[in-house]
Each structure stands twice: as C-alpha cells, then as structure tokens.
C-alpha cells in the first residue's frame, strides 16, 4: 500500500535542482520570500480564463525546475500587476515572470508573432507601424503626414538611428530546429 503511494508521487531530488538558474532569478527578484499562499493565482486576471497558475510557476522556480522555461503559460501574463500589488510577501511575481521570459527568449522560446514585433521595431522604430490610410488621416487632421519619429528620418534617407537599433538591440536567437521542422510540414 505504502509502496504504491510512493510510486504515484513525483519527488524532486537534488539532481533536479538547477542551482544556477535559481540563484540568478533569486538575485534579480524577491522569489525567496514566496510562501506559496496563492494570492497571486487568486488575483490573476488571465488565470481566470487561461491555464496560467502563477503560484505553481513560482514554485517551479523555487525548485530550480527548468521546465518552466518551456511552459507556454508564462506568456499568458497580461502584466496587469494585480499579483504584484497584492502579494503579502512582496515577491513581485510580475517581475519574476519577466525574468523567466527573458530566460526563455535566450533559449529561443519565442513565438513567431513576437519575433515579428521585434522586426517592426528594428525596421520602423515602432511596434505598430504607420500605413497609407493613417497618413491621409493625419493630413486631414492638420498634423504632419509622418510623425517626427525615427521612421520619418529613415524615409528621408537618414537611417542611421534604426540601423543602430537593428545592429545592437534585441538580438534574438535563431528559430529552434524542432519548430522549423514543424513549420515545413
């Protein structure tokens, strides 16, 4: 009887604990203060409708469980900061999730749509670029056809700002191999 129960349980051993990972997140956040009370999950606006369970994400981090970086749920946080505001231990879960996303991005776990947004920033200097209809509308409203942002200068032939963006910021790792295969199918 006791034996079956033991088989059912999933134990974490020291080998499962990635010290480096935990230490790094610990250095950048207040994760060590977490008492697993669940206020974060209870306050979570996204979690009401999705699979995101903030408490269990935090637990995985404390356990040094790297599988959390492959977990799509960390990308379902809307950064509404409810958990951040209400956490009685000041863990600031939103910040922890941000650190996890940074980690996941380094490993190439980044969705195609998000890659596209980074492309927009590098090409246009905007996450949402302008289009012809809006240009027309701006003129009708008595505004300059193009706002005086970096993109306007690029249009005028001076693209030194955005070239430097392209070169030095948000360098994303290549698309993961397995994902590539999936896309080909």
């Amino acid at each position: 009887m006791a034996k079956t129960e033991e088989n059912r349980r999933e134990y974490k051993t020291e080998q499962d604990f990635d010290k480096e990972f935990f230490k790094d997140i610990e250095r950048r956040s207040n994760i060590w203060q977490c008492i697993q009370c669940g206020t974060c999950t209870a306050s979570c606006e996204s979690g009401r409708w999705t699979a995101l369970k903030t408490r269990s994400i935090l637990r995985k981090v404390v356990l040094g469980d790297l599988s959390v970086l492959e977990d799509p749920d960390i990308w379902l946080c809307t950064t509404c900061y409810n958990c951040y505001e209400r956490c009685p231990r000041d863990v600031r879960p939103t910040d922890v999730i941000m650190e996890l996303r940074n980690y996941a991005t380094k490993r190439g776990n980044i969705s195609p749509n998000h890659r596209a947004v980074v492309g927009y920033l590098k090409n246009f200097g905007h996450a949402v670029p302008i289009n012809d209809e809006i240009r027309k509308r701006r003129v009708e409203l008595g505004l300059e056809e193009l706002p005086p942002t970096a993109f306007k200068y690029k249009q005028e032939g001076d693209d030194k700002d955005l070239k430097k963006f392209e070169e030095h910021l948000f360098d994303l790792p290549p698309v993961k191999e397995e994902k590539k295969k999936g896309e080909e199918k």
Partner: protein, 305 residues
C-alpha cells in the same frame, strides 16, 4: 532645471500610427491650457513594456533611455498619453536614477546608438495626471465651452497606476482621479463589475494568444454592457485599440451587437474645450462613428448674451 509649463511630447506608436486624432486632441488641450509642446525628434517606440521587456530587459532599458535622453537634451519633462509608454519611460527613468549599476550598463550601451547619455534630469508624466492633479477640475471649469452630458464607463488600464510603489499616483484598488476630473465636464462615471481589470491585450498576450486575450475582453465587455454607458472612456491608446477592434471581433464572431464609442480622455477634454467634432475624430473609429456626445452648448455664449 527643467523648463516650466513645457513638455517633450512623446508620441509612442499607436497614437500617431493608428489614432492620430488623440494626438491632435492632446496638442489642442495642452496648448489651450498654456503649455508649450515640444516635438521629440527621432524618438522610437517606448519600447512596449509587455513585449520588449519580456525579450531582453537590458535592451528594453537602453531603448527607453534613448527616448529619455532626447527629452533631457530639450530640458523638458516628458508628456505621455499612453499607459504603456508611461509605464516604460517612468519606470526606466526612476530605476536608472536610483540604480547606479544599471545606469552604467545602460550608458555604456547607449554610446552604440549615438550621442546619448542618461543623466536623470527630467520626470515622466501622464496626461491624465497632469489634467487631474496639476490642472485639476478647478482649473478646467472655466476653460470649457460645452459640457458632454453623458455617462461613461471609465477604463483605467493597468500601467497608469500599477505598480503603485513605482508610479506613486494613487491607490490602484479604488482610484478616483478620472471620475473627479470629468465631473466638471458633465460626464458621470458609471460603475460596473470588475471595473479595474485589464482589457486583456497587455503583456504581449494579444500577439501570443489572441483567443485568450479575447476571452478576457469578452467578459469585460459584458460587464460594461450591463451598465449601459454612453461611451467607454480610456486613457491609453493601446486599450483604445483593444476596445475598438475587439468589439468589432465580438460582433463578427460571436453575434454581439456592440457599438460603444471609445473615447480617450484627451478627446473628451478637447471636445469640451471647443475642438470641432471632425478633429475629435470619432468618424475615423470603428465604433460609435456618429456619436455626438449629449451635446448641449450652454455656458459661455448664453451667459455672455
């Protein structure tokens, strides 16, 4: 010393590139209130706190600091109209002023982008906070030429007030800054269930999993519909875009019949201060194109006559 009554106007992305009428309205209002508005040449995306901070926090701070440097060179506080821009720029500005280690890292990387150095000489402001606290309902009262006479469902959004320890504006659980300000514009705030929740688009969720985002929005919209407001009042072009496009999506995919005008605080104030309706720009929007506020032109002319 920063220049008084002068702002570096930070445009961001969605306002100039999707809702230019908000830009028009903000400029109109601020100029009429006696502020000088400076253009921030060569500025970029703030960059958005949901997506770009998720990918690389340091690069997010560098790109944000570059925008801050543009305003520092003009010696004027930044004015933002968007919760996302406000969230990013206010947070980076405050963080880099306090954290020497990060300031050094960021300044080192800023050199790669051009002649920029973060000095920490300015503040970042949101138009709502300037209107609500600096101008105040007491200061706008005799500047308006008409009242809107309407009931509005106010959407605060997330990043204007939260995290409260960083924003230091007011409580995020029971804010009143917009309610108090719009009362003198003749707008009554209607309470609705779950009023302070997120629109569902933030944090990169809209791009990552549109379905999840839509589910959050659907509930939000149901609660607003129960309160039957005349329009939805927001203070963030990103929420603005979400309320517009997602209402449209619900109508197309879920058989809903929503047509609530979505109005930014700047648009509302501009209208009350006399900006012509064609420049307030509702005709360009997806929802409530024909809405004309509860138009009642009283005040000035009649009093004078």
């Amino acid at each position: 010393m920063v220049k008084e009554k002068t702002f570096s106007f930070f445009l961001g992305c969605i306002m100039p590139n999707r809702y230019p009428a908000i830009e028009k309205a903000t400029k109109f209002v601020m100029k009429k209130l006696g502020y000088e508005i400076l253009e921030m040449e060569r500025a970029t995306c703030c960059p958005a706190p949901g997506v770009f901070r998720s990918f690389n926090k340091i690069d997010w701070m560098v790109a944000g600091a570059r925008n801050l440097c543009i305003a520092e060179k003009m010696d004027a506080d930044i004015l933002t109209v968007c919760n996302g821009c406000f969230g990013t720029l206010q947070e980076i500005n405050k963080h880099l002023k306090e954290n020497e280690e990060h300031r050094e890292i960021v300044n080192e990387k800023l050199k790669l982008l051009g002649d920029y150095e973060f000095k920490g000489t300015i503040d970042v402001r949101h138009v709502t906070e300037v209107l609500g606290y600096e101008v105040g309902p007491w200061g706008i009262e005799d500047k308006i030429v008409r009242k809107a006479n309407a009931r509005a469902a106010i959407h605060y959004g997330c990043h204007f007030l939260k995290p409260t320890r960083i924003r230091e504006i007011e409580s995020s659980e029971g804010p009143t800054i917009i309610e108090e300000f719009i009362e003198v514009l003749g707008v009554e705030s209607v309470r609705f269930k779950e009023q302070l929740t997120c629109c569902g688009a933030g944090g990169g969720v809209k791009a990552y999993d549109a379905k999840a985002s839509d589910t959050i929005f659907e509930e939000k919209m149901k609660n607003i519909n129960d309160a039957e407001p005349d329009f939805i009042l927001d203070i963030c072009p990103f929420c603005h875009l979400e309320y517009e496009t997602a209402q449209d999506q619900l109508n197309k995919n879920k058989g809903c019949n929503y047509d609530y005008p979505v109005i930014h605080l700047s648009q509302l104030v501009a209208f009350c201060m006399g900006l012509d309706r064609e420049f307030v720009g509702l005709q360009y929007q997806l929802m409530g194109k024909d809405y004309n506020f509860g138009l009642e032109e009283v005040t000035k002319e009649e009093e004078a006559a």
